[in-house]
Symmetry: C2
Amino acid sequence: MKLIIERKIVMSNIRRTWLPFLNVDVPEDLKTPADVAAFELEAGCAALGIDRPELKPDDALGEGYEISDHAITGGKTGILYGAYAFLTAKAAGEALPQGLRKPYYPLRMINCWDNADGSIERGYSGRSLWFEGGRLDWDPLRVRQLARMLGSAGLNVLCVNNVNVKGEAELLIEDYLPRLARLADEFRPFGVRLMVSIDFSRPMAHGVGTADPLDEGVQRWWAERAEAVYAAVPDLAGFLVKADSEHRPGPFTYGRTHAEGANMLARAVAPFGGVVVWRAFVYNCMQDWRDTSTDRPKAAYDTYAPLDGQFDDNVILQVKYGPFDFQVREPVSPTLYAMKRTHVAMEVQLAQEYTGHQIDIFAMNPLWRELTEQLPPEGLCAVAAVSNLGRDDNYTGHPFAAANLYGFGLYAWDPWVEPAEALRRWARLTYRLPADKEDALTELLLNSRGVYEQYTAPLGLCWMVRPHDHYGPSPSGYEYDLWGTYHRADRDAVGIDRTASGTGYAEQYPAEIRDRYSNLDTCPDNLKLFFHRLRYDYVMADGRTLIQRIYDDHFEGCAAAEAMGETLNALELPEPDNAEAAGRMEGQIKNAREWRDVVNTFFHRLSGVDDAKGRKIYD
Amino acid sequence: MKLIIERKIVMSNIRRTWLPFLNVDVPEDLKTPADVAAFELEAGCAALGIDRPELKPDDALGEGYEISDHAITGGKTGILYGAYAFLTAKAAGEALPQGLRKPYYPLRMINCWDNADGSIERGYSGRSLWFEGGRLDWDPLRVRQLARMLGSAGLNVLCVNNVNVKGEAELLIEDYLPRLARLADEFRPFGVRLMVSIDFSRPMAHGVGTADPLDEGVQRWWAERAEAVYAAVPDLAGFLVKADSEHRPGPFTYGRTHAEGANMLARAVAPFGGVVVWRAFVYNCMQDWRDTSTDRPKAAYDTYAPLDGQFDDNVILQVKYGPFDFQVREPVSPTLYAMKRTHVAMEVQLAQEYTGHQIDIFAMNPLWRELTEQLPPEGLCAVAAVSNLGRDDNYTGHPFAAANLYGFGLYAWDPWVEPAEALRRWARLTYRLPADKEDALTELLLNSRGVYEQYTAPLGLCWMVRPHDHYGPSPSGYEYDLWGTYHRADRDAVGIDRTASGTGYAEQYPAEIRDRYSNLDTCPDNLKLFFHRLRYDYVMADGRTLIQRIYDDHFEGCAAAEAMGETLNALELPEPDNAEAAGRMEGQIKNAREWRDVVNTFFHRLSGVDDAKGRKIYD
């Protein structure tokens, strides 16, 4: 096969993120992962100046592959993953992985929160790549490059529309079907299947008169819709559903459980091999702040634990990693331990909603690896990440945010992947820096979460963010609001007692975990104020008072952010990444100083305690 | 003249607010105030079953009039004001005003903040009555009824577009001219002249290359535009300008003063008898909260006092009544005392941006009367009010908010009008209740500002409102923001020292006023925390501590709001007003409880001091 020579070679100037060496665009007429594998291998080996190994398809391997310098053996999509594994290892100058490689999570999903109007909820990288003005349309070159990125990262499901299904996007299972089918064609050759978010109340718009999951008319409507959708997109992964959550419609309206709601949809897609991914993000978002008995982190467990065992086999309950909502640090959601007879996906967020808006650097592999260490040993069946993608030239706003997309792929294949290894791999593929600079960049990324955490929320005290946009400090921004997110700081103490003597949240965990968090001595510092209410004069293990620790962390975290700026400067990255990263770093340092000063002032005003080290705290 | 009999009588079901007895629509072909006066008199006297007095035009009287049971003598618009004065006095069963009546303020202006897309900035009564989707269009019946309302209230200028000139509205001096001329035709017969807000940088959009007021090209461009505008609307009142304020363009860009900017525009409209109303709402809206030397209330005086005497004769400097921005209570702006050689308009706000969004009841005549008592004796030349009008059936959202529009007219004619008299007049015209209920409604309105103030900001402590929408409490919502609005509450004290020992704001006043505010003993309680920083254990004149006073006021203010609800119920107003007011009252009571609890909890957490009366303060 002389794939390249027989074609018109296209080397467009679209950004290639971690695949700069794959500088020839993938032609549009390739239909299967095997086609793409062959093309990528030929073009990639030519670009790298290396010999091309032989491709040996073996359908029995599915997503698995085995590679050597001479041959790539792999299943239907495994052959493509093998090709990318070969090429990236060669491009990085690393040894080839040994033996049979298979992904840990069968479903490795990206959830896009793209709205039909082209906006993206919590999107920090520009507008949608496929929606605009109520239309489903796209630049094929850019979307194919994105599909290549997803394929090379080993991801296999892309949900194209916001879980908060708004506007015309609700028509994805109706009028949009021909366009959806075309979009699926763009991703299919890269081993990526589409998924769509659906609106649970949709039958109401079609004269069914109810959306009750036990109503036969409703069941029939969904079955017919599923048939039509799968006729258009036979390999659709399934439906993603946000129900009874933040004002979305759901089964509660009809006095039905979420198992009844999810199973009804699951039975509609089951004949076509589809799944229903049902989000467990259910809580009272109209809480009265005066109510101290309701504790939002308890909500998902209270809702779902009693339903364990009641979900159909093709339902996947998608649970956010923490009991709140993608905070910088949360304990692992107790719901993840409770659903032993339910298929469960863990949801993480690449979109940096609470973690810096892709302005501040926040590499996530360290966070995810910590989750792995805490997850139940029997494991989960899937992992999903809210997308950080958009129409920006570099796809992710901050060029380093691409490390999270790539790193998520590595994590989905191997939850134990070393964060430093994942980040170095991305940095090496992307930039090919001299060794000392590669070390520095890897280190910067590896520490970025800790730095961000330190200047924002170092002790597990969440939600001191600006309401609505969730960037920057607002210590009391959510304190008297409806969202169930309170710290109740007063002149003496701060935090919520979530142990048995308080709201009882900790009781939702298995005993060993419950005890560790409930005991002040064993509860880790970085979750102390998540689980306990502490006086400012509480003495931490290292002898510092709580208030001094708050001051120290915010001063040190900010100083660390400033130091990151110097490190970044010294990297001399290639343009335009250098300018993009430098511009955002100015924003990050400003943000870090704001967090430092606002939080310190807030607690100084409350406590009246001066900084023991005499640093500047504003009045 | 048998005006009615010769015409098709139209009695549409549009809402007639305080003119229910004028139940025949004004025909569209009446051209002058004299025409309207004749029509209204005939139809009104017929409806009231009274004899019709003779109309005696006397152009020398201008806007003045003199009325008796037999004759109405008046100038060009005075004849119409006389007719309305006659009819409303008769409808209210009151004695006719004696002697020659003339308005105190020559310019009595309504500023609409309507955007071309149909939205209204700070609008709480529905969408714009004349803009929608970038078009200037309207329901003639509804707009003519509005013009009648304005005429009957004695108001004579209507600025039709937002001072923040956005979107197509910037074309009001260009493509829109034919439509603008038509709109002027609707209002002219009622003695109301239009005004338009303009965008200071507009010449830039026409290739002039600069908006520098000293540039001859710029001057020529504005002169030409003025000529075109006045050709279309010969009686246009002039231009309204928000410059160098909250990110609006202005003369500062070119190193020019606001006198230079305003005079340039004034010279463009002078040949046509127009004025330039130049808003003095200039301050640093990008302040760093850490900066304690900058004090926003000082900004307008600092900007404009040095320019006194430099403005052309047809420039009117429009100054908000307080130095901040339409808070529940502010001291009178020192800029109003400082501009002795400048034409000055005072700006108030009918739109209840900070005063309850036309959900909570807030009758404004008491506030305005207090202003009168404090204004410099030499007076001002004009008064302007930000509109509370919109497309809602009743024009003002809350039916009682119409009292503010009508009351503003009475105030503009006589700044010393007794608030109780103004409010009773509106209530009597609108509802014709039995005497005890009319008393109760008048009393409810008269006290409404005091009640709202008591449960929101009883001691002159402003800005504890929810950011952006400005409804509901958020004690620290603006505390670390860019807007220069801080209270700096800590565990010991609250408020800003604005005396000579603090920011020096009080020094901007004439000595007598400065001394009164600066001295804690003479500074009124309701401004104590505006001018002073006080400890929670500060003892007020009545022996209560500051913290106890805060608690008492918020408890009592909320109880008073609850009592208002009962009073309102007992009024048994006609529908739909009764249902509209009752629905909003539920919202007001909820809001009052929120203010009570949030503010009390906020200060309890800070101070640690319990309520002396043992009432419930939440943790």
